[in-house]
């Protein structure tokens, strides 16, 4: 696969419905916007204060006054608005965000998530992730299935947590998984991989859905 990230982002995009309020994390999740199905218009929330974020402006149009949650130049759509951080996180925590798409270091079969710190190595901070995972109605993790072969989907997260019982769905280049009461259920698989390969790349028991489908890229 040439563009793993694009493939994952395209699949995540299919989860979004018209009129959804959506928050996308930095990195891979940001690309989801490029793959929206036809007729689906979403309102993108940038947690630093944009309701209705627009396209990335050209260098000429970039303003010092409008940035996204990564601090990069951004824009607002017509009909969008700017909010302060307390209002923004009121929107997030208050259940007004339909879907958030985030990256992860680790996800486990309880739906616990680690994404903000690798002790002794990297302490970037949690930013808005801890609020997003408790507030958004649906939490989708978009990430590569492994970290260069090392498991990221685990029986139990090993790094400090971002949230507990937080994740609803995981989308990777290998498949689509949902977190159920019984564990992680594979509901779609990428036919470029065998089930054995996917199992081997997963550090938790994988329940194969009786309705398992091919992953729609």
């Amino acid at each position: 696969m040439e563009d793993i990230k694009g493939f994952i982002a395209a699949r995540v995009a299919k989860e979004l419905k018209d009129s959804d309020v959506v928050s996308l994390g930095i990195g891979l999740p940001t690309q989801v916007e490029n793959y929206l199905p036809e007729g689906v218009r979403i309102t993108l929330l940038s947690e630093n204060g944009i309701v209705g974020e627009g396209l990335i402006p050209s260098a000429d149009d970039a303003s010092l006054y409008v940035v996204d949650a990564g601090g990069q130049p951004a824009s607002v759509l017509i009909g969008g608005s700017f909010v302060d951080s307390a209002v923004s996180f009121g929107i997030i925590r208050g259940g007004h965000v339909d879907v958030t798409v985030l990256g992860a270091l680790e996800v486990d079969e309880e739906g616990d998530l680690s994404s903000w710190i690798i002790p002794g190595k990297k302490v970037p901070g949690m930013g808005g992730a801890m609020d997003l995972v408790v507030g958004a109605k649906k939490v989708i993790i978009a990430m590569e299935h492994t970290n260069k072969g090392a498991h990221k989907i685990l029986k139990k997260c090993t790094f400090p947590l971002t949230g507990i019982k937080a994740v609803d769905m995981i989308v990777t280049e290998m498949g689509v998984m949902v977190i159920t009461d019984k564990g992680i259920e594979l509901i779609e698989y990428n036919p470029e991989f065998t089930l054995e390969q996917i199992r081997a790349a997963t550090g938790a028991r994988l329940i194969i859905s009786p309705n398992l489908k091919k992953m729609a890229g």
Binding site: Y65, V67, G71, S85, P124, M130, L161
Partner: protein, 218 residues
Amino acid sequence: MAKVVSVEEAVCLIKDGNTVMIGGFMGCGSPHKVIDALAKKGTKNLTVMCNDGACPKFGIGKLITSGQVKKLIATHVGLNPEVGKKMNAGELQVELIPQGTFAERIRCGGNGTGGFLTLTGFGTTIADGKQVIRIDGKDYLLELPLKADVALICGNKIDKQGNVWYRGTTRNFNVVMATAADLVIAEADKLVEPGEIEPENVVTQSIFVDYIVDGGNA
């Protein structure tokens, strides 16, 4: 009623050891002129509350690079490698707070509520030492207010009485910080006459602002 002062006069009001809230998100909406003057003055042992560490040579990152910050309370510091370096060298304490909780705790400090309940961080290290209150079967963390000696904010238009209007995403933490400090210094991109901001469009009310610095970007 706010008073217009020079940036040098303004930073003289900030003392060694003060706790200082500084608005901005990766430098967007930070009071850059006040930060520069504070860096020049060399005020020390500051505890700084700011969303992030900005960059080594930009925004509040300058105060970290210059070693004036003893403790940084923030939500994200990953884009300023100086923060990690100084942490590992034992020269800087860092306390990380989830962004929504950070904004709400500051609002709480400004509005006289004694704390609030949130699900954010429950089950994580953020919960350590915090009181858990169960309501209708859900466990919430009790989060307490944050206040500061000084808040440094920045507005695009500020009138001479201290009313502030923010452009774009610059409002971020400025709005709540303006309410939660004993002394509030506001840097105006553009200083305007009272009435130039419609009373409906004022975002930070004059009563919160003590001193105004004219940023001169008229």
